[in-house]
């Protein structure tokens, strides 16, 4: 587990980091918590020639705030910080629930939300919840800042739409008002404890108890996290009875090309999608009714 040789820089600002990346095309990699990049470097799967460490930009990039309509989380915010944040607890507790499911204490203390999204690991936890919550990412580049949905940012397994010299600065998540509830349920593999399948559900009930919004994000099942649109379309406008939830959840794997690995075959993953979607929606609805 010995990485190849690399140069190292720890710039003070995001702007300086972008310039450094620009100077060494094809070679540079930013490092945030290092919890995904370092294992790959140790296996020599990744052999970047230059490491640009973002640790000195925490002042700029590590924060959690509520701007009135959105929760704003700096990209360098650690999983532990999100899991323990009162602001998150008061606005979108499902994000804390998700962060707390990631790995173990050591990893949560170092790993960051920006790193998790940029890495686009198909079995990472955050994407399920961020997709269900319609989250967006702010990205800084040479030409300024652009905003894209997390859905657009993640392309496929370990591939994002980030340019080489772009850095995610903030994750922006709309806060829904009213009778709303959400839940993240993860079925972890027993080795790394990454998700085999993880399902996030977010619901809003109208005054008569009908579902005015239902959003389901699924991670782990396919080569990237995705929304379960068939489930959402079936359930939207319905009263979420157990039968209705079950019937809709049976469609959870529709349109997903489930992957096979040591921890689960495609059929098993399809089954988990259905079971966990039912459980996640049920829990989200219970919370919305509380």
């Amino acid at each position: 587990m010995i990485p190849g040789a690399f140069d190292y820089a720890a710039p003070d600002t995001v702007a300086a980091a972008i310039l450094l990346l620009r100077e060494r095309p094809g070679e540079g990699k930013v490092i945030a918590g290092g919890q995904s990049l370092l294992p790959m470097m140790k296996l020599r799967v990744a052999m970047p020639g230059l490491i640009v460490d973002l640790r000195k930009t925490r002042g700029e990039l590590s924060h959690i705030s509520n701007d009135g309509s959105n929760l704003r989380i700096g990209s360098m915010t650690s999983h532990a910080h999100v899991a323990g944040s009162d602001v998150v607890q008061d606005t979108l507790p499902v994000l804390a629930e998700t962060a707390a499911e990631i790995a173990d204490v050591q990893v949560r203390n170092l790993g960051t939300i920006g790193g998790s999204i940029a890495h686009a690991d198909p079995v990472a936890d955050y994407p399920a919840t961020l997709l269900a919550l319609d989250a967006q990412a702010e990205i800084a580049g040479l030409n300024g800042v652009r905003v894209v949905s997390v859905d657009e940012l993640i392309m496929d397994a370990f591939i994002s739409t980030l340019a080489e010299d772009e850095i995610i600065t903030e994750i922006v998540i709309p806060i829904t008002e009213g009778r709303t509830g959400a839940a993240y349920i993860k079925f972890a593999n027993k080795a790394s404890h990454f998700a085999i399948v993880g399902v996030a559900a977010h619901v809003v009930l109208d005054d008569s108890g009908y579902l005015s919004r239902v959003a389901v994000g699924i991670t782990g099942a396919a080569s990237r996290a995705a929304r379960a649109t068939a489930v959402e379309d079936t359930l939207r406008g319905q009263v979420p009875t157990p039968d209705a939830i079950s019937a809709a959840s049976a469609l959870a794997a529709d349109g997903l090309e489930c992957i096979a690995d040591l921890h689960g075959s495609p059929e098993y993953r399809q089954n988990l999608c259905r079971v966990l979607t039912r459980r996640a929606i049920t829990r989200a609805v219970e919370r919305a009714r509380e």
């Binding site: 079925f187 593999n189 027993k190 689960g264 098993y268």
Partner: protein
Amino acid sequence: MATDAKLVGQSVARREDEKLLLGRGAFVEDIKVPGTQWLSLVRSPHAHARIRSIDTSAALQAPGVTAVFTGKDIHPRFGTNPTVPLRFYGAESAPYDLIAVDKARHVGEVVAVVVADTRYGARDAADLIFVDYEPLEAAIDVEKALRDDAPRVHDDRPNGIIHWRHQLGNVSQAFEEAAVIVRERIVNQKIHGVPMEPRAGLAHWDPVQETMSLWATVQTPHALRDHLAEILHLSSDSVRVVAPDVGGGFGVKHEDPEYALLCIASMHLGVPVKWVATRTEDFLAMHQARGKTSYLEVSADADGKLTGLRVRHLHDLGAYAKGPEPSLSASSAMISTGVYDIPNVEFEVRNGYTNTTPQGPYRGAGRPEGIHLIERGLDRLASELGLDPTEIRRRNYLPPFDQPMRTGGGDVFDSGNYEASLDQVMELSSYRQLREQQQQARAEGRHMGIGVASWVKTGGSGPSPVDPSSSRYEWGRVRVDRGGKVTLFTGSSPHGQGGETVFAQIVADVFGISDDDVTVLHGDTATVAHGVGTYGSRALVTGGMSAKIAAEKVRDKMLKLSAHMMGCEPDHMTLEGGVFVCTTNRERTLPFAEVADASFQVLARPADMEFGLDEDSFYQPSGLTYNFGTYIAVVEVDTETGDVDLQRLYTVDDQGVIVNPMTVVGQVHGGATQGIGQALYEISEYDQTGQLLNASLMDYAIPTAEMTPEFVVAFSETPSPLNSLGVKGMGEGPTTGAPSAVVNAVVDALSPLGVSHIEMPLTPERVWRAIQDAQG
């Protein structure tokens, strides 16, 4: 220093722990010698490939590289890696080159070695060695490997090696007359030992003295010393092996080719050379274990009395016959009669080479596999006959015995009381209430399961009942210095078990002194002349007894000496709480230290008595010990996901006399956890080309603390008649008993759904599939 209380039987705190907990341990990685260079290994990416050529020129030119060598460079100049002698079976094992010469026979086999002045430089240079391979078809599955048309792992011999049979009575007839027969193909999957500290070594050749020193993380420093002497063509006294703090062994830390390669590199360069394996290197090249495919047939009469057992055991050796592995496959079959009286028995054992990592012993060493067969078989018979799993066991236990007795399988058990063990665990677990809770759970649609397993495990090797030539001793030496301080030199090599603590308890009791006055030295062949080591549940039985006997010799000499000093009749001398007393005149006493000092004085001793207090013992037990127990596991299964929630494990272990109650609890926790690993999580996953698919802890699951159940632990003590301590081995019992208890519990939970068997590990998907299959 004197103490009247016996230390044996007390929970003396482990003297090993403080320094380890404070981070003051010294593992191989921590040992620094100035001028050390680093070794890196190039390993075969193919399971089976001819090596056409190796180009080392680029690596030799890389910065800091001092040496590169391949198999052709060192063979036949140096010896080969030890394989097990199979004379007893009329077989001969294939040679095991330290570096593959013409062919690589498993993924991870060493094909070249590079040494550089830094760790990073060595690793970088390894990428510059180009090996031209001709990939060959590989033999991966042992059943297929044993067929005549299978690719040969070793060109000059078939893959099949050792064909061992055992027969008692007439199984065919028993099956004809049986009320019920159960037949099942059962796989005890290959798993890894995964000690927390990976393998590591530091070799230091002294070109002036022409001596080799090697620090290595091993369980058997003396065996490694002797093998290295042979490989390097040195006398064994020119080789010193030190096992410093060792971060777990579990049977997998023995003589590996890497250690000889370190020595060869150090001899060649005249500098110290170090290597620390990566986790993946350990997964690929440290031996794996279990790996048995078995065909079980077992019959009973209408009352549930066992009438016949037939086991066909196919054992995967991997690419080379490492360690005692081939003969363990016979022992594995033998123990499959369990703790039961079975009148008709037939075993057939075959071993096959495959293009996978060599197999070797791992905590349990063949016995968990054998026990799993009979314990699964009994549950199947019980369900066919409508008997409770505890009832069918009760009807078949061997009756209590306190003198050695041969079993149907061929083992000679030393003592046992199996039904009592069942009674105890049933009481401990409130078994009847558990069954009521299960009824309740089922009514609520929950899938609760209760699993029972009785087990027995060999220990204290000791003479093998199969192959007498594999018998082993242990050595102990006790010295008392002039100040009365006692030192034990033991050939056992404790590495986490608590051996330092319990040996000190035993020695202190012989003298009636405090264990604080007993120093225990081990793990360094320069300090401890002889030894065999710690494995196979042997340390307490063999190391403990050799320590006791050596201490008794010293004590007897001190009694004689003190009698002389006091003018007392030798027969009237006693040693009470560390003080010598003449029983005919109790006023007269001599302190321990004074007698010790006298042994070095010309005038104080009888003329015919040699100086000093320094005695040793090569102790060989007369037979193996057999610890036993019965476990009950309680699970609840999520049938939608297949997830198993192992809630509680009730354990009753009987290991003879308990020297330290605290350390045995630790052994149960650790051993059972590893057994749970096999039952629920662990498997070395090979694909058909021989690639190990889960060669890291990101993919290979071992149970962590949060994955262990609540343990409810109890003991009984049936002394072994074979040694004066009355002790048996115990460390491997829990690993032997836990898997079957857990599997039986899961199958019990799912039996209303029609599930009758699931292969280990019981991963969520496997459990889910078993339910799907049973539901059609």
